[in-house]
Symmetry: none
DNA sequence: CATGAATGAGTCTTCATTCAT
DNA sequence: CATGAATGAAGACTCATTCAT
């Protein structure tokens, strides 16, 4: 092939990739702003500054667009989590690592995280995206991590690894949700940093084996005394 | 009581209320099965075994249906949470109380919880339900709880109440999500009980003030040594 | 059930059927006027004087609409043909019967016949309607008819029943096409009658066993003499 | 001939013509396979192994593509028919000639014939191709042929030339349709030959003047006795 | 109260056609 | 000539909502 043709092709390829990225970026922004169901392809096209039909040149349909957003974002996230989990390190380091990955994702692309959390991470039942490959996948991964930690004696003996996994990701997700939804004024980077650190620390404080029995003892008694009364108050939801 | 007009009217009222409840119940089930956007009014009507248009007798529109599901479920939940928070008790008891409320809701109506969590708790931006009255409301409530606890010295000094709130609800929500999505085999009530207990304990272990410095110290060092390398690995999202 | 409810239901049922028929009729007319691909659902709705969406209340989609037109028209046609074929009668009577059925269909609903012939009878390959259940079905039917006639000695011995079938339906279809397309001025009913009679007669004249060898003999010689020259002229289609 | 510039130009021209033919051939095949409306330009391009836009270099638009297919195929067909009609020969020879032309077309390019028959010969009303230049044109041509035959006394006196024309082309078209649609196993060339011969013979048997009154007489009586009953059975189309 | 036929605005999706390279 | 990215008009289809009975 001639030099020109090749160069042109490369340039075209680059431009194509450019366009595709533009559209994907626009989709993330629009999804973050109006939600998946609340936006039209036209919105994405307008946001991307391209013609209506071009979206369909790069993506089969609206669903695939969301899928791609999901795959790119969540896939990268999971990959980094996996890398942390695979390390041969103490659970303390791993928890810090997971937390770091989650917050770094937020710092790099808060709107992307918003879409992942709000639209796909727990996509409503019956939707295209399999939740077991989203939340479930993450939990499974963390589950393995905590299982190994337990086997190495790095975990409180009375805790199920699966519960630890749920708690860690739950804490991360909910706190990021709070940031994402603007429930917390994220004036400065320091604040985010601070939240991140607290999550790691508090979580670890709860799951590491405690040499001394700790302070939870008497509290437990208070709880037991109160429990039945609380329970009886529960009614069925209409 | 008279058995005449008044009784008839009551009976009629009761029957109406019955219908309404039937439809609401059907809505919860259908939302849980196919998601809010994935179902049609016709689905709700079929599930309830009533005629198409009857849904509109009892509910202004599809949104109000979801709102009502939300209000009934979430409203009740929040009310019970509020009751727990209002108690003059140690934070340990309160945390146990909040956890108990959440799990009791799951035990009583798992599908209702599913809908709340998946459909409305963090309804995508631009949707009818104000998220600040969902997740935000709960977090705010817990925030106050932890603030008071901090003021009473029941909380680790280095923790923001708001982070504690996020962590608690995050842990609860994620673990319930796991149950709700069937990620965990919920063969028996004992398993649920066990998960509930672990969440309380682990969470409390992380947030209560520690008399002894605890075991986290050397781990922290390991973390600090590793941190920068982890950080540098973060790449941009496409 | 109360008298009123029943009457209302019946009335409603009748009205529904009425609407459905109206739409079907409109579809036939619009298909006849603009062709299946050339018309929009909106055209059908407008022609029927109903709202857009109502078409979808009675028919799953555009295709089903065409299918229904086809089933109603062609199904009835085939049924009548089948009745004629089943008669225990001389092939002469049967051919007259088949011809009569075809022309009667045209007299009763020329536009319906037009749609059947132009749009579905030989729907282009890859289309929804299986042609083998259209043209093929008719030919198969006639084929059986002529097979029996041959067995009874009512057919020229040198003719394949299948060819007879093709010739009969071909003649009918082409002549009806001519009428339908307005290639012939159909001023009066007498003209149509006349065409019908001629088709039967000429066709029968060609397929009935000839006592005397007839006049075709020397013609055959002329043909043979000419044949090779004609053939050599054929070129390939680009 | 020089081997320089002129040859190069010719070669270029030939190559262009080659491309054009490739595309046209691809169009015929794709139309035959999926129908005109059922295929996209992309399908044609893929089949031809050329780029998307190249089709538009050689053909103004999709319609022109079909038009060209039609013109090439039908035009050639009509031209040959015209040649046969123009001969100064007995109607017997001419009918054999017309039949021969039709079948030869099928032998040379069955898919081309398929497209002509299914897609354009009776293009639905409102379509680009004027039907009077397709079926109508052929019928008109044959009409003249039979008119002349009638004037020369070569035709049964009671037949309209126009009906003869319709019957001949109808028989040809329907039998070719049967071949084209695979309704008949066309294992061998002999079968096709056989069908061709039978059509000519049977058709001629029906339209040539019969010296003796022939065998149709009593059949006619049976028909007349039966007719009214058949007629009364006609019902309305839903 | 109940019913479900009727309405029609809102969107997705397709695909012929153009155009810059 | 060739390519295929870009355009956008056209139209099928959905489904929330209304309304007459």
């Amino acid at each position: 092939m001639a030099r020109t043709g090749k160069a042109a092709a490369e340039e075209a390829g680059a431009r194509e990739s450019e366009r595709r990225k533009t559209i994907l970026r626009a989709a993330i922004d629009v999804f973050a702003k109006k939600g998946y169901h609340g936006c039209r392809i036209a919105d994405v096209a307008r946001e991307a500054g391209v013609a209506y039909g071009l979206v369909y040149h790069y993506f089969k349909n609206k669903d695939e667009l969301l899928q791609t957003v999901f795959d790119a974002g969540w896939g990268g996230f999971i990959a980094r989590i996996r890398e942390v989990v695979a390390r041969d390190a103490h659970i303390v380091e791993k928890v810090h690592g997971v937390t770091q990955v989650a917050f770094e994702a937020y710092r790099v692309d808060p709107r992307g995280v918003k879409v992942i959390i709000l639209e796909v991470a727990r996509a409503p039942a019956g939707e295209r995206i399999n939740r077991q490959s989203a939340v479930g996948e993450a939990i499974q991964l963390a589950n393995e991590m905590f299982e190994r930690a337990r086997d190495r004696g790095e975990l409180r003996a009375d805790l199920d690894p699966f519960v630890c996994a749920g708690m860690l990701f739950g804490a991360l997700e909910m706190c990021l949700t709070a940031l994402v939804l603007g429930l917390v004024d994220v004036q400065d980077e320091a604040m985010v940093e601070r939240v991140q650190r607290q999550i790691s620390d508090a979580f670890l404080g709860g799951i590491l084996p405690t040499p001394s029995t700790g302070p939870a003892v008497d509290a437990e008694d208070a709880w037991k005394r109160d429990r039945s009364s609380t329970r009886s108050k529960t009614e069925r939801r209409s």
